[in-house]
């Protein structure tokens, strides 16, 4: 019987015994183990689908941004404003992920950008994130070839969406000042994963005890290279810089501004 044990350095070894002749053992069956090295990433299947999404985006010439945040940080309001502000600078599309309801998708439709809704309720009672397959299921409902930029609005959640590659070119997150200064330390994987951190609701700063310097320091601690943008999606203050970043991102990955 194969045996394995763990060493103090964390390695695990298996020691299979030599086959020994035990005389006449007709019909005698011993069970043993066979250790098979797999060494595949747990998300291999997701990553393969993400690569397929990437190929489709490349073929259509569309650049994609995965937009993430906690619930209520202002992703949808930001997108509403963005669609209006970008106007003819970029042809924008939105893939809207939500556990249930079409409320956000309804709010975004009619502004001139195509919107496809993916409800994640078909997963295990409502997945808390979009994975590459869910995104793929929505792509057929978008005119990818007619778009310059696709924003994937992920499910509101600061944990799970950070783990799943959906085939995006860039990751952005929204963090509202109402969420406090410690979020980068509490949700470091999300803050580390993002190229841009949008600090939203700055119009509320006079009413809060939010310490911006400490927040920025916390972001820098976990992600020294992230770009920080400060804005209010409600008032429109600071939105120009966000739109410029979208245009830059779009051209950096192969599309020129119209």
């Amino acid at each position: 019987m194969g045996r394995f044990h763990r060493h103090t350095d964390g390695t695990v070894h298996s020691h299979d015994h030599e086959h020994r002749d035990v005389g006449d053992h007709g019909g005698y069956v011993d069970t043993g183990h066979e250790r098979v090295a797999v060494l595949e990433t747990i998300l291999a299947e997701n990553d393969r689908t993400a690569d397929e999404n990437r190929s489709d985006f490349a073929a259509a010439g569309v650049v994609t941004v995965n937009l993430m945040s906690s619930p209520g940080a202002g992703k949808t309001t930001l997108l509403k404003r963005t669609i209006t502000m970008l106007g003819s600078r970029l042809r924008l599309g939105v893939l809207e992920g939500d556990i249930a309801t079409s409320l956000d998708a309804d709010e975004l439709s009619g502004l001139g950008a195509p919107v496809a809704l993916v409800n994640t309720a078909a997963g295990f009672g409502g997945e808390c994130h979009l994975d590459a397959t869910m995104v793929r299921s929505g792509l057929g409902r978008l005119p990818l070839g007619d778009l310059d930029l696709l924003v994937i609005e992920n499910v509101g959640n600061l944990v799970c969406p950070a783990e799943f590659d959906v085939g995006q070119h860039a990751r952005a997150m929204v963090s509202a000042v109402t969420e406090g200064e410690e979020k980068p330390l509490k949700y470091p994987v999300m803050f580390r994963a993002c190229d841009v951190v949008v600090v939203n609701k700055i119009d509320l700063l006079p009413h809060l005890d939010f310490d911006m310097e400490r927040f920025v320091g916390n972001v820098r601690d976990v992600n020294p290279s992230a770009r920080l943008l400060f804005l209010s999606a409600r008032t429109g203050d600071g939105l120009d810089e966000w739109c410029d970043w979208l245009v830059e991102t779009s051209s950096r990955h192969g599309r020129r501004e119209l």
């Binding site: 086959h19 069970t31 998300l43 997701n46 944990v159 783990e163």
Partner: protein, 114 residues
């Protein structure tokens, strides 16, 4: 929160590598910086494999500490929080050498030995 989805991915990969044989143990290697709650993963595992061909199969979680190596002084630091800094000299010119693993390392298949 996404442990059930991760477990489903583990089940799919293990089933593919099982080659029709009974699998008794699966070892996964998960880095400290991954947001996986071991208890949730084990709970999800039991839930998913119950009544399937993987029923009774053990999920072993190998937790890999997060370690950075310093380019300035050459020191190695084990981190709890993902603040990438060298504990010895304070430099932030460090490279993460472990802590982001997310692997199915191996499976133990039952083998009939005559």
């Amino acid at each position: 929160m996404h442990e059930l989805a991760l477990c489903q991915a583990i089940v799919d990969t293990v089933t593919r590598h099982a080659d029709g044989q009974r699998v008794e143990r699966v070892e996964v290697r998960i880095g400290h910086f991954r947001q996986v709650v071991p208890d949730s993963l084990l709970f999800s595992w039991d839930l998913l494999v119950d009544g399937t061909e993987l029923s009774g199969c053990t999920l072993a979680i190998d937790h890999v500490p997060a370690v950075v190596e310093c380019a300035t002084c050459g020191g190695a630091t084990t981190l709890d929080l993902p603040i990438l800094v060298c504990n010895r000299c304070g430099s932030t010119d460090v490279k993460l050498v472990s802590g982001e693993e997310f692997l199915i390392a191996s499976i133990d298949r039952a083998k009939e030995v005559c």
